[in-house]
Amino acid sequence: MPDESIAEARRQSEICNACRYCEGYCSVFPAMHSLRAFSDGNIARLANLCHNCRGCYYACQFTAPHEFDMNLPKALADVQVASWKRYAWPSQAAKIFDRAGVAIATALALSIAGLFWLAAAVRPEAGQGFYAYMSHEIMLSVFIPAFLAPLVSLAVSLRRFWRDTSRRAPTLRGIASALRSAGRMSNLSGGHGDGCNFEDEDRYSNVRRHLHQFALFGFLLCFASTCSGTALHYAFGIEAPYGPFSLPKILGVPGGLLLCAGSLGLAYLKTKADPNLGATNLWGGEMAFVLLLFAVSLSGLVLFAATGTSAVSWLLPLHLGFVLAFFLTTPYSKMAHGFYRLAALAQDAEIRISGDPLTTTPSAQFGSNSEDNSASGK
C-alpha cells in the first residue's frame, strides 16, 4: 500500500514506540510495541484494531500545535479506510468508499424506487399478509442475490487482507477470542473500565461502548429474526406476517428496538465528537451509514405495528428498500469495519497466544528508510 496514510501512521507509530505511555488503553499499543519496524501489513493490522476511542489522542503530549503533530486515532482511521479500499472487490468498487454518503443515498433511492415499482408492477393476484403486496418469489429473487453478492465481495476482500497481513490461516481460538472481544467491546473500555473519550473531549464514558453494543446485538437479533422467518417459511410452511409471540417477532422486536436506540445514539454522539480525530472526509459517509441502520430498524418496527393496515402497501417496499440499500452498500460502507476488525482481532489474539508474529513480508530493516524519514513533523 504505497499510500500516504501508511507513511503517516508509520511515522506516528515510531513515535509511540519510543514513548509507550498509552500502552494500557487498547490492544493497538501492545501489538505495536512488539514490533521494532512496521511493514505495510503491520500498519494495516494495527489500523483495523483501532476502535477510534481517542484515548491516545487526548492523553498525548505531542498533539498539534506540538511539532510532532500526533493524531493517532485519525492516522489509523485513514489507514483503515485505505485498507478497505485496497482490498475491496471488485477493485473498481473501492471508489465508493470515498463517496459513501452519496453511495448510500443513491442505493437508497434506487432500492426504494425499485421495490415500489416491483410492488406496483407485479402485484400478486393472491397472497396472504405481506405477500398480498409482494410475492415471496419476488422478494427472494431480489434479496438472495442482494444478500449473497455483498457477502462474496466481503469474503474476497477479507481473504486479500488476511494474505497481506498474516502468514498463517485463521485459527479457531483466534476467531473465538475476537468474537469475545467484539461482544464485550473490551477495547472501548479505556483499559480502566471508565470507557473512551469521544463526545466530550477527554472525559471518559462508557456511553459509546454501550450504544455500540445495542446496535451490534440489535443488528444480530434482527438478523436472527430474518433467519428464523426463513426457516419457518421453508421448514414449517408458516408464512409471514408472524404473530407477536412467534420466533421472528420475539427476536426481531427487541432487536429492532436495540438497533434503533443504538444507531440513533451513535449518530447523536457523532455530532458531538471532534471530526478531526476520525478518518479524513468520511464523516458524512459514516453518518449516512448510521442513519441508514436507524431507518432499517425504525421502518421495521413501524411495519410490524402496522400489520393488517393498508399502510403496509407502502411501508413494506419502503422498509425493504432500506434493507436492500443496506445490503448492497455493506462491503463499501462503514459496515465493512466490523469484518476487518474481527479479522484484525483474530490475528492479534493468535499472535498473543502463539507468539508467532505472523509477519508476511520481512519488515523493513531498522534505519532502511534513512535519516530523511524524520519523524519531526509532516
Partner: protein
C-alpha cells in the same frame, strides 16, 4: 479568561498549571476556598513538565493497585539518600515519603487511573505507580476535577511579579489575555516549576555552553516567579549552577521533546566526541543507573555534542528511538554522514576492537566483558564494532530540571531571612531542591509535587478562610 471575568475575591491564587499547581488548587477548593489558577501556557500546552511524566514513586506496605509487593519507608529513604548523597532535607523528605502512600488513593478519587509498569520498565513495577496514558492524562483528570469543583482557570496567563511587603504577598501582577492585571489574593501558592527553559539564565549559571542544551520539557518554565521572589529576599535552596541533564537524541526539538527523545544505546556502543575520540566508560553500570550522568558528560565535550557508534549486533538491544539512527556500510562512511573525522573515528573504533576480549555477552546484567589496555576502558558489554551496517546517533544534553528553588518549611511555606512569609506557599519543582539537592530518583518529582501541592493548597485555604 478575560481579565474582566477574574473574580474580585480570590482566596488562593495558584501560579502554574502543572501537577503541583493542580493538586494545590483542588485541595484548596475542597477546603472551601475561592481558587484562581493562572497558567502561563495556552490550553494546548498546559501542564508544564508534568505532562511528560509517566509515574510517581509511592511507598506502600503491601500490593497497592498497580504496585506489586511492598516498598517501605526505610528503603525509600535509603534510595533517596543514595542518589542525593545526603543532600536532602531529612524532615521534608520523610514527609514526602510517608505521605506518598495516601496519594495513591487521593489521586484515584480525583480521576487519575493507574496501570502496571510499562513494557521496558518492569524494574520499576514495585516502586513506581504508572499513570494510564501518562502525565497528560493525569492532568486532564485534574483539570476536569478542578473545573467541576469550581476552580477558575486562566490559560496563557503568566505571572510576572508577586509583591512582597513585610511578611506578606500583597498583590500579583499577571498578563491575562494580553492585558496586564493586578490581583490581590489572600494567599498564594507558587507552583511554577524551575527555570530551565530560560537559556540565558542557564548560560549565566553554566556558561555559554548551555545555549546548546536541549530542554526536555515545557518552554514555559522560565523561572520568572522564582527570580522575582529571590530578588525580593525570599530564601533559596539548592545549587543555582546545577541542572539535571541526560543525553538525548541530538536531533530532538529545542523544547518539549519529552520522553521519546531518550536514547538507551550507550552501553552497546562506543561514544566519541566531535573529534572522534572516546572520553568515558560506556559500560560502567546498567543503563538506568548511568542514564543521568551522560547529560553532564556530553555537556563538557566540545560543542556539547557526542556520537554513539555501534553495529548491527547492537541495534536491537535497546528501546526503539524516535528517529532512526544514521546508517552506513563502513565506519568511514558513517563518519562522513555524521560529520566526524573519518580517519580518527576509524582508528578509535579499531583500537577499541583490538582491546575487546572474548567472553559471554549479556545485555541485561553486568557481564564483565571489559576491554584490556584501553583508556578510558569499557568495563562491560565490550564487543567489537565490526559487523556492518554501522549505526550512529548524535547525543546532546537534555535538561530535565534545575535544582535552585525556594526554601520551605514542613507546611510548604516560603520564608525570608526575617521568618516565614505569612501567605506564600511553594510546591513542586520550585521547592524540590530542598529534598532533591542532587541527582534524581525516578518518579520522585511527581511525589514531591503531589504531597506538597496538597499541603500547600490546604494550608493556603486555611489561612485565607
Amino acid at each position: 479568561m478575560e481579565p474582566s471575568k477574574i473574580p474580585d475575591k480570590i482566596d488562593v491564587l495558584v501560579v502554574g498549571g502543572g501537577n503541583a499547581a493542580l493538586c494545590a488548587a483542588i485541595s484548596a477548593r475542597e477546603k472551601g476556598a475561592e481558587v484562581l489558577v493562572l497558567e502561563a501556557a495556552p490550553k494546548s500546552f498546559r501542564g508544564g513538565n508534568s505532562r511528560h511524566t509517566r509515574n510517581f514513586r509511592c511507598m506502600h506496605s503491601g500490593p497497592l493497585g498497580a504496585l506489586t509487593d511492598s516498598y517501605g519507608e526505610t528503603e525509600y529513604l535509603e534510595d533517596l539518600l543514595k542518589v542525593t548523597e545526603g543532600r536532602t532535607d531529612r524532615e521534608l523528605a520523610e514527609i514526602a515519603i510517608r505521605s506518598s502512600e495516601s496519594c495513591y488513593g487521593w489521586m484515584r478519587e480525583r480521576g487519575v487511573r493507574f496501570q502496571p509498569a510499562l513494557s521496558g520498565t518492569l524494574s520499576l513495577s514495585r516502586t513506581n505507580a504508572f499513570f494510564l496514558g501518562g502525565g497528560k492524562a493525569l492532568l486532564n483528570a485534574y483539570y476536569r476535577k478542578a473545573a467541576s469543583a469550581g476552580v477558575r482557570i486562566s490559560y496563557g496567563s503568566p505571572v510576572s511579579h508577586l509583591e512582597l511587603k513585610g511578611d506578606r504577598i500583597v498583590g500579583a501582577d499577571a498578563t491575562i489575555d494580553g492585558e496586564t492585571a493586578r490581583i490581590a489574593p489572600r494567599a498564594v501558592v507558587a507552583a511554577s516549576g524551575g527555570f530551565q527553559a530560560d537559556l540565558e539564565w542557564l548560560a549565566k549559571a553554566w556558561g555559554p555552553a548551555a545555549r546548546n542544551f536541549l530542554i526536555r520539557g515545557t518552554r514555559y518554565n522560565r523561572g520568572a516567579v522564582l527570580r522575582d521572589l529571590l530578588d525580593q529576599g525570599v530564601e533559596s535552596v539548592g545549587d543555582p549552577t546545577q541542572c539535571h541533564a541526560v543525553a538525548i537524541d541530538g536531533r530532538a526539538p529545542k523544547f518539549d521533546g519529552g520522553i521519546v527523545t531518550r536514547l538507551d544505546c550507550v552501553p552497546f556502543s562506543v561514544v566519541v566526541n566531535k573529534l572522534g575520540r572516546r572520553f568515558y566508560d560506556e559500560g560502567e553500570d546498567l543503563w538506568p543507573k548511568r542514564y543521568a550522568i551522560w547529560g553532564r558528560l556530553v555537556a563538557s565535550q566540545p560543542d556539547q555534542i557526542a556520537y554513539s557508534i555501534f553495529d548491527s549486533s547492537g541495534v536491537d538491544l535497546f528501546m526503539p528511538s524516535l528517529y532512526p539512527p544514521t546508517r552506513a556500510e563502513s565506519i568511514e562512511e558513517l563518519a562522513g554522514k555524521l560529520g566526524l573525522p573519518a580517519a580518527i573515528l576509524a582508528s578509535t573504533v579499531s583500537e577499541f576492537n583490538a582491546s575487546c576480549r572474548p567472553g559471554a555477552f549479556n545485555p541485561t546484567e553486568l557481564d564483565g566483558l571489559a576491554t584490556e589496555g584501553l583508556s578510558p576502558p569499557k568495563t562491560n558489554w565490550a564487543r567489537p564494532i565490526s559487523r556492518p551496517p554501522f549505526y550512529g546517533y548524535a547525543l546532546r544534553p537534555g535538561v530535565t530540571f534545575t535544582y535552585l528553588g525556594l526554601r520551605v518549611d514542613r507546611g510548604a511555606r516560603a520564608r525570608t531571612s526575617r521568618g516565614p512569609v505569612e501567605n506564600l506557599w511553594a510546591a513542586g519543582e520550585i521547592m524540590a531542591g530542598s529534598i532533591l539537592g542532587k541527582g534524581y530518583l525516578a518518579g520522585f518529582g511527581m511525589t514531591i509535587g503531589t504531597v506538597f501541592g496538597r499541603i500547600a493548597g490546604r494550608e493556603a485555604a486555611e489561612h485565607a478562610g
